[in-house]
């Protein structure tokens, strides 16, 4: 039986090859090759493109450890990633629950569309519209002052909260979508069974619904945490001077300072740290899921 199964899967693989090849060829060309080039750059003293002489070095990696700025910024970025992920859970999970378990039919479709909508707009446009809302004399400030009887001044622009707001707005749909999928797969009769056994809504949430939707929470968290740790657009535009993070420093190396080797080295350190975090979290998360 086992041998038969192995043969079957081998011949299955052969017939599947034409279907797999395009995707893997594309991934090789589009990701693996440039990434390998970047790995190579990260060990160089200077870019070969500029015509200057270059040599192999570990200096770019050493720079991360010799200057406290980089570890500090990496730590700040990891905290940012954690905070944004937590806010996305706090905001996204209840919305996903309502979408999956409370709303039905047309109203569900309509609300769902509103969740997906940010995906259809350009990221830069989204961030600049936040800038218009958050700055002093902006939409939020004006609107609040029009309604409230006393004068208040809202200027969230160029602050840490502004960065959080912008990032949460960009990434919360991922959490809603992944949680929606796992929540929708939970049979309504499970909830009814729990209630018939005397469980309160909170007990049901804690003991049945959250454990069963854990795969969605984990997937959503991974989808959000990783890009947020490396984000640079939202911190730069909404954070201004306070928005210096690990991602913005990497971006600077590529577009401002033109120190590609250092930028590449910093990127790979980030990649390594993120992989270590995900790997060490995996057993815990697998158990929870």
């Amino acid at each position: 039986m086992a041998a038969q199964g192995a043969t079957a899967s081998r011949s299955g693989l052969r017939s599947a090859l034409p279907l797999l090849l395009p995707a893997y060829l594309w991934l090789t060309v589009a990701i693996f090759l440039p990434l390998s080039a970047m790995v190579f750059f990260s060990f160089m003293t200077d870019l070969p493109l500029s015509g200057k002489p270059w040599a192999l070095t570990l200096g770019n990696y050493a720079a991360f450890f010799s200057q406290s700025l980089y570890p500090t910024l990496l730590w700040a970025s990891l905290r940012l990633g954690l905070e944004v992920t937590l806010w996305c859970i706090v905001i996204g999970y209840p919305a996903a629950y309502v979408l999956a378990k409370v709303l039905k039919g047309r109203s569900r479709e309509a609300i769902f569309l509103l969740v997906i909508l940010p995906f259809w707009s350009n990221g830069l446009v989204r961030i600049f519209s936040w800038a218009m809302v958050l700055r002093e004399g902006g939409i939020l400030d004006t609107a609040l002052n029009a309604v409230l009887p006393f004068k208040i001044s809202i200027d969230l622009m160029y602050s840490y909260p502004a960065v959080i707001i912008g990032l949460v707005h960009s990434y919360v749909p991922y959490m809603v979508l992944t949680c929606y999928l796992t929540l929708q797969a939970i049979d309504d009769s499970l909830i009814e069974a729990g209630r018939s056994l005397g469980a309160s809504r909170l007990q049901m949430l804690k003991r049945v619904i959250i454990p069963l939707s854990m795969p969605g929470l984990v997937a959503g968290a991974a989808l959000i945490f990783v890009p947020v740790v490396g984000s640079f657009m939202e911190p730069r535009i909404l954070g201004g001077r306070t928005g210096t993070f690990y991602g913005t420093v990497i971006e600077d190396q590529f577009v401002a300072v033109f120190n590609w080797p250092l930028g590449a080295a910093l990127s790979f350190i980030l990649l390594a740290v993120v992989l270590v975090i995900l790997a060490s979290a995996a057993p815990v998360l697998r158990k929870a899921a």
């Binding site: 049979d187 009769s189 499970l190 009814e192 069974a193 729990g194 209630r195 018939s196 056994l197 005397g198 469980a199 309160s200 007990q203 003991r207 049945v208 454990p211 069963l212």
Partner: protein, 354 residues
């Protein structure tokens, strides 16, 4: 343990009346089947008793206490769902323990009670399994153990055997009945399977379009149905329609049919008689002519052989009458044969046509 009283219960969903003035008294410790076609309101009634949905009007009492506005989690009921609804993220033992543990019972007490419940459903050794590692029948037993471990006042079963295959179903019917007797819990059972209702329950309530059509012990409903619907839905019945003669009917062709049981009606109104197929004798020739016997002549149009019995379809006066004859090895009638059907007035139920 407690009885359940449902009084004048009504519930509408939009223009649709799911329950229309239903009153039933479920006696303490009884096994009660709610029987009806889909859309008859039987599941709606069960969900009202459970507390998943509240009635528009009417009263529900469990053990004498009004509960119609009490939410399900406070009603102390046990419920078994058609798809079992076991928590897939928990072991069998944790599933059974759920009801006790959300109440904050002590761990040692929970463990002992869970083991007792699992032993009762004969799954004592499978506590550490996950639901997906069990067969359908085993899951059913876990669902039952989970529902009764909290010592609920009433056990509600929503088509609990619907997802099992026929052989397992018969086993579970016996098993369910045994467990119910052993703990003596008031049990209300929703089914669309008339055989299940007949074999398992002490009393049956037949529902149709949100109304209770008839209610009583299985024998009583089978032997004296009060409506054509009850007669044909619970078991098979031949319905003959005509004008009442007071104690029977006169068919359009003038034949008199005498009825022994059922209502007595003012002569001249429309009425019908119900006769069970197995009560009719079928014979060739002149048959048994007798003052006390109802008799009809007809022609066999079809015969279906089913091993221990045969079903004959006999045509007379543009009506088909079904006759079931035990296979005694004596008589085999051919299709097209002229026959005489006879049956006693005691086997004939007079039914008012509303």
């Amino acid at each position: 343990m407690a009885g359940v009283q449902v009084s004048n219960l009504s519930r509408s969903f939009g223009a649709h009346k799911a329950l229309d003035d239903v009153s039933i008294d479920f006696a303490d410790g009884g096994f009660y089947a709610l029987l009806g076609p889909s859309g008859s309101g039987k599941t709606t009634l069960l969900r009202q008793i459970a507390g998943f949905d509240f009635p528009d009007t009417g009263r529900i009492a469990i053990g004498g206490e009004s509960v119609e506005r009490v939410p399900v989690e406070k009603r102390r009921i046990g419920m078994v769902f058609q798809n079992y609804a076991l928590f897939p993220n928990m072991s069998v033992a944790d599933n059974v323990a759920f009801g006790l543990s959300v109440r904050g019972e002590v761990k040692a007490v929970i463990a002992a009670e869970v083991q007792r419940a699992l032993d009762l459903v004969q799954l004592g050794k499978l506590g550490s399994r996950r639901p997906h590692q069990l067969s359908g029948g085993q899951r059913q037993r876990v669902a039952l153990a989970r529902a009764i471990v909290t010592k609920p006042r009433v056990l509600l079963l929503d088509e609990p055997l619907g997802a099992l295959d026929k052989a397992l179903r018969v086993d579970m019917q016996i098993e369910l009945k045994r467990i119910q007797r052993e703990i003596g819990i008031t049990t209300i059972f929703v089914t669309h399977d008339q055989e299940e209702a007949l074999t398992m329950s002490d009393r049956i309530g037949i529902l149709r379009e949100g109304r209770l059509v008839q209610e009583g012990p299985p024998e009583e409903i089978y032997d004296s149905p009060k409506s054509e619907f009850a007669a044909t839905f619970l078991g098979d019945a031949n319905i003959l329609r005509g004008d009442t003669t007071g104690t029977g009917i006169r068919l359009p062709d003038g034949t008199a049919i005498a009825a022994g049981a059922g209502v007595s009606l003012a002569a001249g109104t429309k009425a019908s008689c119900a006769v069970r197929p197995e009560r009719i004798r079928i014979a060739t020739g002149d048959g048994i002519a007798d003052h006390n016997t109802n008799m009809l002549k007809g022609q066999v149009s079809k015969r279906i052989f089913a091993g221990n019995n045969s079903t004959y379809f006999v045509e007379r006066d543009s009506q088909t009458i079904k006759v079931i004859v035990q296979n005694t090895g004596i008589e085999r009638l051919a299709e097209g044969q002229e026959v005489v059907l006879s049956w006693s007035p005691e086997s004939t139920v007079l039914i008012a046509v509303s």
